[in-house]
């Protein structure tokens, strides 16, 4: 990377790219393409405005944008057809469609976050929102009284408990899905279990709430509490953790496991000392993503936690508020300040989700085992262990695919 400074500038200054060595550009955009697109965009905007504001009796921003988009597609095809053949026009049109829906997704995400941030700022800019509960706040109290502290605490407690329950279960299930092939008795179950886990990730959250309501509160006779809510969240989070963890556990190179078996370790020791440590960064990502999904679940909490306006630190007894429930409860009230508080609650919830999400990404990125310095002996064993697949990956194509997939799948998991 750092050659001697003297010879470095010489080649760059004296080679002005001989024309026969220029690379043929297959992709990329030309000026005429860009101008065609801009022209079609401007023309369709003008036409849309004319139709919308002058000719036809239409109104509404969404209709305007939709019409603009459709007119743009039409005009773009037309203008393109003037200069290109049909094949090129179709290709360009497909490109434009793909880009526009990608941009639409970006716009929707930005819009959601932006809108909630703007509306939530009304209440969230007062510090009392984060330091007070709603205990002494009447419906018409000014915005400078009342806050969401009790909801934040409740959310964190319920999320912590749910993580405590769901992570061991989810990770062990994931290990089962990967390792069960070694014994014939369990191998038959792998496929049904996987299909069922997949189906459970899409379990309606209200059903999870109803289930816990039916078991814990109606049948066992417990009161509504943070613990019941955590159990409902566990039902929601476990399959998510399982699915995400299975992918990373599966990506642990087989050579590592075989090396462990060859050294005389049993299955248990192999999993504990080789598979799980190797998969740890991916597992952390899986867990944090599960938490990000869990903290925003409203309906299970709605049925099982009850709601209270005061602080309840004890998750075992009594109603406990949480952020989604806070929003749900106050947004339906007909007082503007209450709605503002609900939006501020939603903003806080979004912030929690975003922090968890970014944490998951950052943890997933530092996959290199050498980053960790905490545990010396483990680190040494892991660096030597991970050194093994590198030559294997260099020769075998599937192995390189697997390592690429490792980063991709950790991202792709929900």
């Amino acid at each position: 990377m750092n050659p001697a400074p003297a010879p470095a500038p010489a080649p760059t200054t004296e080679t002005p790219e001989p024309p026969e060595q220029r690379r043929i550009k297959l992709g990329g955009t030309t000026r005429e393409e860009v101008l065609t697109m801009l022209g079609a965009g401007a023309g369709s905007l003008a036409l849309d405005w004319l139709l919308y504001e002058r000719v036809l009796p239409l109104s509404g921003a969404f209709g305007f944008l939709l019409c603009w988009y459709l007119l743009f597609l039409g005009l773009y095809t037309l203008v393109g057809r003037l200069q290109w053949d049909a094949l090129t026009v179709r290709e360009r049109l497909a490109t434009a469609l793909a880009w526009s829906s990608g941009l639409l997704l970006l716009a929707v995400i930005a819009e959601q976050i932006g809108y909630v941030a703007v509306r939530g700022f009304d209440a969230a800019r007062h510090w009392n929102f984060f330091t007070e509960t709603m205990r002494t706040t009447a419906p018409l109290s000014p915005i400078t009284s009342g806050g969401c502290l009790h909801a934040v605490v409740g959310s964190l407690e319920q999320l912590g408990l749910a993580t405590l329950f769901s992570v061991p279960l989810g990770v062990v299930t994931a290990v089962f899905l990967v390792e069960a092939g070694t014994s014939r008795r369990s191998a038959r179950f792998v496929k049904p279990v996987r299909v069922l886990v997949e189906a459970m990730t899409a379990l309606p959250s209200i059903v999870a709430g109803l289930f816990v309501l039916g078991v814990v509160i109606l049948t066992l006779g417990a009161e509504k509490s943070g613990l019941a809510a955590a159990l409902a969240l566990t039902v929601m989070m476990t399959p998510i953790v399982t699915r995400a963890a299975e992918v990373v556990v599966r990506l642990v190179p087989g050579t590592l496991k075989e090396a462990s078996y060859a050294l005389g370790a049993g299955q248990w020791r192999t999993v504990w000392h080789v598979v799980l440590p190797t998969a740890r960064p991916g597992l952390t990502t899986a867990v944090v993503l599960g938490m990000a999904r869990g903290v925003g679940e409203t309906s299970p909490v709605l049925l099982t936690a009850g709601f209270t306006a005061r602080m309840n630190l004890d998750p075992l007894h009594g109603n406990q508020a949480s952020l989604p429930l806070y929003v749900w409860n106050y947004v339906k009230q007909p007082y503007p300040d209450m709605v503002a508080r609900a939006f501020a609650g939603a903003l806080t919830l979004m912030a929690v989700v975003l922090v968890l999400f970014v944490t998951a990404r950052v943890l997933g990125r530092h996959r290199a085992p050498t980053d960790r310095r905490a545990r010396r002996p483990l680190r040494r064993s892991r660096t030597t262990a991970t050194a093994v697949p590198v030559p294997a990956a260099a020769t075998a194509v599937p192995a390189t695919n697997a390592t690429n997939a490792a980063t991709a799948s950790a991202v792709a998991n929900r």
Binding site: E91, W99, L105, R119, G214
Partner: protein, 338 residues
């Protein structure tokens, strides 16, 4: 290559001292291993147990209501538990309508977005885009609900009115009866479906993107070598390859849309007749019904909600398991599942 060949040449042939009876190799599992396998198996089976428990307890708690009204639970449109006339004949079709509208919007958008991420976007941007789609999936449903209720709905009324006035003639389900006030276009099945569509777009997008990106490079290059444009390659290689996965993804999206609760409950104003006129005020779904009626329910009415939840559970389980099988049977899914 030559370096790899050499060791095999110098390999010593195996000793042939006892050629007719190979030694049986058995690895008896240690007690720790046997216990470990037991734990693994228990965790795997816990999924079955959990699903069984959910079905059992919903049935147990819903029995009272089911016994009270019998089969008319499936045929009755009203939901008046005090009068013993309640059933899911209105909320279930209304929920399916919401899910179908959501699919109509979500499928084209998510397929093109998946193609965009896997084929068209600059390579350096792709991981970021994948994360953003994941982020969209992680946005809590209550935030979607707030956004739909306060932001989308007021700006959507104009479009709804236009659709009702101009397409209502040839397409009767777009008609809006009962006056042209602004409120007759709000809280409709259509708006709820639009918001739900935004919530299932990330699921369909990320699953489809996954199968699209697995389209074999050899076939892609073959298409290009035959002179195909990028769209031609997508149409002849990527889309056929991903078809099974996409169908499964759409079914999973449908299951999610059926079960979506909070956003629907915030937006819809519940009515207990089948809302064929999708632009009209009023609609419903089983999950929204449960969320809205739960707080004022006890005894029989709670049991009725449990029974409705059982129906929702069975239906989504069916759709999701079917989707899982479609995905694992398809060519693109076969390589991912194992």
């Amino acid at each position: 290559m030559t370096a790899a060949v050499q060791p095999t040449d110098t390999r010593v042939p195996p000793p042939t001292s006892d050629p007719d009876r190979p030694r049986r190799i058995s690895a008896p599992a240690s007690p720790a291993d046997r216990a470990f396998r037991g734990v693994l198996r228990a965790a795997g089976l816990s999924v079955f147990v959990l699903m069984g428990l959910i079905a059992f307890f919903l049935l147990l708690r819903g029995t009272e209501a089911l016994r009270a009204v019998g089969w008319s639970f499936l045929g009755e449109q009203n939901w008046r538990t005090a009068a013993h006339t309640f059933g899911i004949a209105a909320v279930l079709p209304n929920g399916i309508l919401i899910a179908l509208i959501a699919l109509c919007i979500a499928v084209p958008v998510s397929l093109t977005a998946a193609l965009f991420i896997s084929e068209y976007a600059p390579v350096r941007l792709r991981p970021t885009l994948v994360s953003l789609v994941d982020l969209m999936a992680a946005i809590p449903s209550i935030v979607y609900g707030l956004w739909g209720l306060f932001f989308l709905q007021p700006r959507f009324v104009g479009l709804c009115r236009w659709l009702a006035n101009h397409l209502g003639g040839p397409l009767p389900f777009l008609r809006v009866r009962g006056g042209d006030t602004p409120t007759s276009y709000t809280s409709s099945t259509f708006i709820a479906g639009t918001v739900v569509s935004l919530m299932i777009i990330p699921i369909i997008t990320s699953l489809s993107r996954e199968v699209f990106s697995q389209a074999p490079a050899g076939e892609r290059e073959g298409a290009y070598a035959l002179g195909s444009t990028r769209w031609g390659m997508v149409r002849t290689v990527v889309l056929p390859f991903g078809r099974g996965g996409v169908i499964g993804a759409v079914m999973l999206g449908f299951g999610r849309a059926m079960g979506e609760t909070i956003a629907v409950a915030l937006i819809i104003s519940p009515v207990f007749r089948v809302a064929w006129h999708v632009l009209e005020n009023g609609g419903g779904s089983i999950s929204a019904l449960i969320a809205l009626r739960f707080s004022e329910s006890d005894g029989l009415s709670l049991s009725a909600l449990m029974a409705a939840g059982l129906v929702l559970f069975a239906l989504t389980l069916l759709v999701n398991v079917a989707a899982g099988f479609v995905i694992s049977r398809s060519r693109s899914g076969a390589s991912t599942s194992d």
